[in-house]
């Protein structure tokens, strides 16, 4: 009996693993099933810190429990997954092991934009995603800040929120720089190129909200009041000399650009049109991109005129 015990030898283990796919995306989970036969199973996924070839240089494997291990890769590349199956007996004096390996390719083809924003003085203004290609930034010409109304420049830094860190961004063919200011007066062609080489084109449009450059009624000049919370809404509150017929006023106004149009309800207004100001009137501005007539932005100005 004792002799038999001393002679005990480990049985030969077999190492075998199955993985559903051999091509993964970054951060995609893979499940490794151990399908061999062994007492102890360790898997080296092959990425930094877990490389089988470097096992004598402090790289480690991951212990497999219940024949199941899930893992994911953080960076794209090709990895050699090595599975080491071991049996031992006789208090570790007899050890037999077997290895097998599989190659896994991890790709990163992300060309998706989550968010785009630009800074308007102190505010982060987010672009609106219009469709799969077009993004629109709507900026005010001026912002109310405490008691002043500083102008907002169209030359601003642009910030991209992209899920993958290895994706490259190009603006008008040149490398995107997070610290440079871009002239938003023009439409920019944005190109995203993934680590895998796939690319996607986007257009970044910028429009200013429409507003009156000047507004005059019955010889009195109106002044725009802004709110700090909503850039697409303004008010003009003015008093005209007593005795003025409010039902038939013909305000003279100018706009900033030729792509701005102004409406009351759905009727387009031009300077000198007769309007009934008994009740406050809401002017609606529509500014259309000169590069793409389908892209436009709306704003509102509520004009209240009363007699002194």
């Amino acid at each position: 009996m004792l002799t038999a015990c001393d002679d005990e030898k480990a049985t030969q283990p077999t190492s075998a693993i199955s993985i559903e796919k051999n091509m993964l995306e970054v951060n995609e989970s893979m499940t490794i099933h151990f399908v061999g036969n062994a007492d102890n199973v360790v898997v080296y996924p092959g990425d930094s810190g877990h490389d089988y070839e470097l096992r004598n240089e402090s790289n480690t494997g991951l212990v497999v429990n219940k024949n199941l291990l899930t893992y994911s890769y953080t960076t794209p590349g090709t990895y050699k997954v090595v599975c080491v199956a071991t049996n031992h007996a006789d208090e570790g004096k007899s050890i037999l092991s077997d290895t097998c390996s599989v190659y896994i390719k991890v790709i990163d083809d992300c060309t998706e934009i989550e968010k785009i924003s630009v800074t308007a003085l102190y505010d982060e203004v987010f672009a609106e995603k219009l469709n799969e290609m077009d993004w629109l930034v709507a900026l005010p010409r001026k912002i109310k800040y405490k008691t002043s109304t500083p102008s907002v420049s169209l030359s601003q830094k642009v910030k991209f929120y992209i899920p993958s860190t290895s994706t490259k961004v190009y603006i008008d063919g040149a490398d995107y720089n997070a610290n440079s200011k871009y002239n938003l007066a023009q439409t920019h062609a944005v190109k995203l190129v993934s680590n895998e080489g796939t690319s996607q084109d986007y257009s970044l449009y910028t429009l200013n909200y429409g507003e009156f450059k000047t507004f005059k009624a019955a010889g009195v000049t109106g002044k725009i009041t802004r709110t700090e919370y909503d850039y697409s809404y303004y008010e003009i509150n003015m008093e005209v000399p007593s005795g003025t017929d409010l039902t038939r006023l013909a305000p003279d106004f100018t706009l900033y650009a030729s792509n701005e149009k102004v409406y009351i309800d759905n009727v387009e207004q031009t300077s000198g049109n007769v309007v009934d100001f008994t009740n406050p009137v809401k002017y609606r501005f529509v500014v259309t991109s000169t590069d793409n007539p389908e892209i436009s932005v709306e704003s509102t100005c509520k004009v209240t005129i009363s007699c002194k």
Binding site: N27, S29, I143, K146
Partner: protein, 557 residues
């Protein structure tokens, strides 16, 4: 003859033996007969609260909510330990702390389920309305606690298995519910708890979870389901609860429960009976009858932003976190710690993490000058942090190590110190009224009500300004500017309260914040945070293993 006698003798012996074994042991409590009085239900509820006091619960909270984020440096950030791997986001799915957080919260859930599943075993000795209300309040608190434990799990792991209220040995493996289903389950518990509980418990009842606590937690649960700028209806719902809580807008029970939409085919009376409102047929005399149109408890003015103690005496900002400020007007829910009364010195179940571990020379986590400057700037609340060899409010010379800065929120004044070293002399604040106001402000900004958001934001800041007669207020601006200011105020107000990591995750900027932090530190902690993966932690490997894969792993692990 002899053999027959021997046989019958043996038979008699056997019979006697059987009878003896078959005797029912009288007087033993079993889960079948235990929960029949309100006292026994109360002790089961106490056991549910008890989990909050465990070291494991505190430890899981600071390790995940604070040590992984950008307001502290850890003593143990080496990659050799489970803690170091956790905070570097270089852990395996077998990490000890991940498993402990999972287990301690499920322990709480199991105990809450014991109360909820057995509540109907209770027999009342009177037909008084008050007797029903007592049971209802026990049930309501158990629902609040269950929601709190599930919320801890869902914000850490994503959708989790919803345990059945009555566990069966043959059905111990429960698959994970979706994120939306888990949140819906939590929301239902909280909305029901709000209508079942009084607005606030005071004096001898202080410490019990009230309707205020349930509403505050509900707001947080709604906020965590929405994302900044996503236009989600959760922001709208959050603003409605905020209006009810802060502005005193009346809210009917049916609006709180979303009845009947969320209660297919269940009539009002069945809901009432399940929640231990006195059944209609037993109502007599002046007993109130709650209809769907009955108003929810009034929360307006139940809590306050001002620094006032439970007895409305003025206290200082830091006293809000000491014994003087327990159940103060700004505190909605706290974990109640009490010194052991039995004279034992080795009871480690009473929050020693808070008392002796964090505010000490070898604190697990601490801040430094750069962090403090980054959080507070010139805000007066930075004066409630303390450095090495500076004097505490009760003139104690601190000895915490050169260069280290700790928060006075972790400090226990000398007069509040427990007799036994492993105890804790003060309660831990979990939900504060300032949080309610700032969540309301954030929701208002998200639904395009910037001016009202600013009013709420400044309501907290103007109370802070009274500390040093400052007049600095936040300034109106566009959506992005207001949002950034609200987040800044949250960071300052709730700094070192162990919630920072979850806050930056739900704001969707954990990667950005942690990368900035990592680049300022030589060990680059935070740089390994993977966007889209590390917002939730992995399900503990043992759960995946024991369920043979029925409990699935989170993506990216």
């Amino acid at each position: 003859m002899i053999s027959v006698m021997a046989l019958s003798g043996a038979m008699i012996t056997l019979t006697g033996c059987n009878d003896f074994l078959d005797q029912e042991v009288l007087g033993n409590n079993t889960d079948e007969n235990f929960y029949d009085t309100k006292y026994k239900l109360q002790s089961a509820l106490n056991a549910t609260y008890d989990v909050l006091q465990t070291d494991a619960f505190q430890s899981a909270d600071w390790r995940f909510g604070e040590a992984t984020a950008d307001n502290v440096i850890g003593t143990d950030e080496g990659l050799a330990s489970d803690q170091g791997q956790l905070v570097h986001f270089r852990f395996t799915t077998s990490n000890r702390w991940i498993k402990e957080r999972w287990e301690i919260n499920y322990k709480g859930i199991h105990r809450a389920n014991q109360v909820i599943a057995n509540i109907d075993r209770c027999r009342l000795s009177t037909n008084d309305y008050a007797a029903y209300r007592e049971i209802r309040e026990i049930l309501g608190q158990a629902k609040f606690l269950r929601a709190l434990y599930y919320f801890n799990l869902v914000k850490t792991f994503g959708g989790v298995p919803i345990r059945p209220e009555v566990e069966e040995v043959s059905k111990l493996v429960v698959p994970r519910s979706s994120l939306a289903d888990t949140y819906a389950y939590i929301e239902k518990d909280l909305r029901e708890a709000i209508i079942m509980l009084p607005n606030r418990y005071t004096s001898a009842q202080s410490g019990k979870a009230s309707a205020g606590a349930a509403a505050a937690l509900l707001m947080k649960v709604l906020m965590y389901q929405a994302r900044p700028g996503d236009g989600s209806e959760k922001w709208q719902q959050l603003a409605e609860i905020g209006e009810y809580f802060v502005k005193g807008k009346s809210m009917q029970m049916k609006d709180m429960l979303c009845y009947p939409e969320r209660y297919k085919d269940t009539d009002w009376e069945s809901i009432r009976k399940r929640l231990w409102f006195k059944p209609q047929e037993l109502n007599v005399g002046t007993d109130p009858y709650e209809t769907p149109e009955t108003e929810c408890p009034v929360l307006l003015n139940a809590y306050s932003l001002r620094y006032l103690s439970a007895y409305n005496a003025p206290i200082t900002y830091d006293q809000q976190f000491y014994l003087d400020g327990e159940f103060c007007q700004g505190s909605i829910f706290e974990i109640v710690f009490k010194e052991s009364g039995d004279g034992t010195t080795d009871d480690v179940n009473e929050g020693s993490n808070i008392y002796s571990r964090l505010f000490s020379r070898d604190s697990d986590i601490f801040a430094d000058d750069q962090i403090i400057n980054n959080i507070y700037g010139s805000d007066i609340r930075r004066s409630f942090t303390i450095g090495h060899h500076q004097f505490t409010p009760d003139m104690e010379n601190t000895d915490i190590g050169a260069g280290r800065i700790l928060s006075l929120k972790w400090y226990t004044p000398i007069k509040d110190r427990p007799v036994y070293t492993d105890d804790n002399g003060k309660n831990r604040r979990i939900l504060r009224y300032a949080d309610v106001v700032l969540m309301y402000a954030e929701a208002l900004n998200e639904i395009g009500k910037g001016a009202e958001a600013l009013e709420q934001l400044n309501s907290n800041k103007s109370v802070v300004n009274q500390i040093n007669n400052s007049s600095t207020l936040y300034i109106g601006g566009g959506y992005g500017y207001l949002r950034d200011q609200i987040w800044k105020e949250r960071e300052i107000e709730f700094a070192f309260e162990w919630d920072r990591f979850f806050d930056i995750v739900r704001q969707g900027r954990a990667k950005q914040v942690l990368t900035t932090f990592a680049n300022l530190h030589s060990n680059k902690r935070g740089l390994y945070f993977r966007e889209g993966v590390n917002e939730v932690f992995p399900i503990p490997q043992t759960e995946v293993d024991l369920s043979n894969g029925v409990v699935t792993q989170n993506p990216g692990y």
